[in-house]
């Protein structure tokens, strides 16, 4: 799920204008193939300026806590030149035909919209200037704007945007490619710390989230699925469920076999959720477990060790001659690393409200990715995609879990069967035990150092899940990660084993694991070379240069990484003496177009308990931080999220099912364990990129490297096991 390339020159952004209700200016945008006329139907009313000067900007992307409902409209408001306090934000319906990409994934919102949506805002400003110039009979070049007003500079006359809106609607939209944009030094909104637009509603308990949806006549549902992945319902005591007070219906859903579709299970529909849950408990379901019931984490680890000892199934990338270079190396270092399955556990459990009437489906859902949900619902229910309407609610967390819309199709199916609007809410146990997990993985490294401690060969035999050339979802590897192209002899081999457990992207997919194994092993190499871990990394990065081709998603700028690595070293006081049992660890990682280096100070007690005392982050995400408040939140949140994962989270598979079930055995970080996280943004002359994910991957290795510095024990498997660190 790394960044898709921004749309190239084959399409053009177009603008449409119109009169808003009440006589204001309405601006819509869309994309057409280069050379084609703008389609007649495309009106998204993206910006509306009312006669009273109120500005409405549509938030088109799903909001999962990454802050796009605030930061993206900030881009528009800046170039439109209005006061942020005059702006109202309206959540869009899911409709990619009208709004373009509507996905919370890949940290791509800023990257993709930084240029385009500022141009839309700037075009609106030009039209308001044109309307004022016509009113006054003066050249537009004599007019300027201050927030919400156009001013004729020679005479000092002014008109508010509201007064100009109706006339502006009649002006021809300017050419978006050449519309003038502000000089960043004149930004007033971009770069100003701006609280989230939903904050007041959130802190007063207003209904914003999927679980809060309430439709008149609505019923409440639970849905029980087989604990072992891929199983079916053999028997269920539907009568017992129906005997529970408040239960209206109980029925078996046949479902299919695709793990990301409608699965078999038993639905209970009741007057309230608690009754639906009690009904579910009365079902006494017998399951017909599928072939995955023979799978286990232990079995995977055993099989991975066997595969690692055999020739790999295939080679992903081979530069130079690794075997030859290892033979000639002064020192060879070998290590095996592994990491577990992980659940997403967004705090709002999966839920969806659906209403099926007259062959049409209306959905209210917290989703990161509504369009595939629409397709899934349409296909499963046998209705046309255009007959599925999706309201995107605020999401109580996403982390990649809600890129899948399994709960959406369940709600739609149950609602149709129930003949009423139905709100389906999963229990936390449903959520932890029916996730699309971050796949576990196994890496077998071998590297060679020359006499001077330089890296001459790097080999990783990655054992992962899949069959043949096909990886399980999110279980593949981008072989061009650093140190690819920085070492002459480099080879990534891969072997796969079959998996019946559903997997999918988790915040910084792939990278959240590869950062750990690569930067931990590099730390081992630094120690083997007898060098300081930070200096060893700088040497490995070498002179500032681009590895790979400019503009390619996997190109890597060693200069940008050096910049953040040097900065984090300086800010953390790298190299200073630490008390006994305390150590500093460093790591860097590039993902989602962002360059991040982190230092962790951690203490390890004689009993093996790890305490993170402080984290320093240096980040390069380009020339501009759009919303410094949200940006800091994303970085601190990713770091703390990752501390929780590294210290205690794992999903263990036994008999084809997840052992863990709730927060007592899948622990999230708590406040008392949250250390200060000091964040420094290094501004560089590159386009701004996203922040939801790239701060996460360097944390696990920086923490594990700090543990090594503190107590001399190397962590090669996550989560950290205190028993293995015990010295007392």
């Amino acid at each position: 799920m790394n960044a898709p390339a921004p749309a190239g020159g084959s399409r053009r952004l177009f603008l449409k204008t119109g009169l808003a209700a009440g006589g204001g200016l309405m601006l819509s945008f869309g994309w057409a193939a280069e050379g084609d006329a703008a389609p007649a139907a495309a009106v998204n009313a993206y910006i509306r300026i009312a006669a009273d000067g109120t500005v409405t900007i549509v938030s088109k992307n799903p909001e999962i806590g990454q802050g796009v409902k605030t930061s993206i409209p900030m881009l528009v408001a800046e170039e439109l030149d209005v006061d942020w306090s005059a702006v109202r934000i309206e959540q869009a319906l899911a409709d990619q035909g009208v709004y373009g990409r509507q996905v919370a994934g890949g940290s791509m919102a800023t990257t993709l919209q930084w240029d385009e949506l500022r141009r839309v805002g700037a075009a609106g400003r030009q039209m308001l200037i044109a309307a004022a110039a016509r009113t006054w009979g003066v050249p537009a070049s004599e007019c300027a704007t201050s927030p919400g007003r156009v001013r004729h500079l020679p005479t000092g006359r002014e008109l508010g945007y509201g007064a100009l809106a109706a006339q502006a609607a009649a002006m021809p939209p300017p050419d978006l490619k050449s519309v003038p944009l502000k000089d960043p030094k004149d930004f007033r909104i971009i770069g100003a710390p701006t609280p989230g637009v939903d904050n007041r509603a959130i802190v007063s308990g207003q209904p914003l989230f999927g679980v809060d949806v309430r439709i008149p006549g609505m019923l409440h549902a639970t849905f029980a699925k087989c604990p072992a992945f891929g199983g079916k319902v053999a028997r269920a005591d539907l009568a017992a469920a129906k005997a529970v007070r408040g239960v209206r219906q109980a029925f078996v859903v046949e479902g299919g076999t695709a793990l990301d579709g409608l699965l078999p299970g038993v639905a209970v529909v009741a007057d309230g959720w608690w009754a639906a849950r009690k009904g579910r408990e009365a079902l006494n379901i017998a399951w017909d477990e599928g072939p995955a019931a023979a799978q286990s984490s232990q079995g995977f680890a055993r099989r991975a060790a066997e595969l690692a000892a055999q020739p790999p199934h295939r080679t992903l990338q081979a530069d130079g001659d690794v075997d030859d270079a290892l033979k000639g190396a002064a020192k060879v270092v070998e290590a095996a690393y592994s990491y577990p399955f992980l659940a997403h556990a967004p705090l709002e459990p999966q839920n969806c409200t659906a209403w099926v009437r007259d062959g049409k489906v209306e959905i209210w859902a917290p989703t990161q990715n509504p369009e595939p949900g629409r397709q899934l619902v349409a296909k499963t229910l046998g209705v046309a995609a255009q007959d599925v309407t999706i309201h995107m609610t605020r999401c109580g967390g996403g982390f990649g879990r809600r890129l899948n819309n399994d709960y959406m199709v369940e709600a739609a199916w149950i609602a149709r069967a129930a003949g009423a609007p139905v709100k389906l809410i999963w229990s936390r146990e449903d959520d932890i035990q029916h996730d699309f997990y971050r796949p576990a993985g196994f890496h077998h490294f071998k590297a060679g150092l020359d006499k001077a401690g330089g890296l001459v060969a790097w080999r990783d035999h990655f054992v992962t899940f899949g069959e043949g050339e096909q990886y399980a979802r999110s279980a593949g590897m981008n072989a061009s990660q650093f140190p690819s192209r920085a070492v002459a002899n480099y080879r990534i081999d891969v072997s796969t084993m079959p998996l019946g457990v559903p997997t999918g992207p988790l915040r910084a997919p792939g990278n959240n694991a590869f950062g750990f194994v690569i930067q931990s092993f590099i730390d081992e190499l630094a120690h083997a070379a007898g060098e300081d871990p930070l200096k060893f990394r700088l040497k490995l990065l070498g002179e500032p240069r681009l590895l790979g081709k400019p503009g390619e998603g996997d190109s890597f700028d060693t200069g940008r990484m050096r910049g953040v690595l040097e900065l984090v070293g300086e800010k953390s006081g790298w190299g200073r003496a630490t008390p006994k049992g305390v150590g500093l660890g460093v790591a860097f990682h590039y993902s989602h177009l962002g360059y991040f280096a982190e230092v962790v100070e951690a203490a390890v007690s004689p009993e093996g308990a790890v305490k993170v005392r402080k984290v320093w982050v240096a980040a390069d995400v380009g020339s501009q931080i759009v919303n410094p408040s949200g940006a800091l939140q994303q970085v601190q949140g990713a770091v703390l999220d990752s501390i929780g994962q590294t210290l205690g989270q794992q999903i263990v598979i036994e008999a084809g099912r997840a052992v863990q079930s709730n927060f007592h055995d899948f622990p999230l970080l708590r406040m008392a364990d949250a250390p200060p996280v000091e964040v420094h943004f290094l501004r560089t002359d590159h386009p701004p990129t996203g922040l939801g994910e790239p701060a996460l991957p360097p944390l696990p290795p920086a923490l594990c490297n700090a543990v090594f510095a503190a107590c001399g024990r190397r962590i090669r498997a996550l989560p950290i096991d205190p028993a293995a660190l015990k010295t007392a």
Binding site: I202, F209, D212, R214, W273, E348, G644, F663
Partner: protein
Amino acid sequence: MPYRIKVNGRERTVDVDGDTPLLWVLRDSLDLPGAKFGCGMAQCGACTVHVDGAPTRSCVTPIESVGKAAVVTIEAMSADPIGARLQDAWVNLDVPQCGYCQAGQIMSAAALLARNPNPSDDDIDAAMNGNLCRCATYLRIRQAIKHAARGGKAAS
């Protein structure tokens, strides 16, 4: 059977089974969706309300155990001086990310400040450790509680 409970200063009657958790009475019967469902076993604190002033996990509080106690939810916090200060601090310091846990966080924080108007970091950690934030906004939560404790004034 019918239960009479006092919620946000009003007497309310609900007809549910006695084992129904207060959380689901508030959300499904009384249309007070501010308290959130997160875990169902008092692990996350998203469902926190006040019962006679004490922060209480409503997801494990059967309606039959509430009796005559005064139940207060996030929906009533803007009318409470401490609650309003906390809400303002939360908004202005931009605490929420996804926001789902924040009603529960504020309810725990309000109970803390009611008994300890000037809490230390350790006091805050102890009072707030039962409230999970999956987005990990803990650093800002701590800051906002201190800000509200100072009456909304900046640190000197």
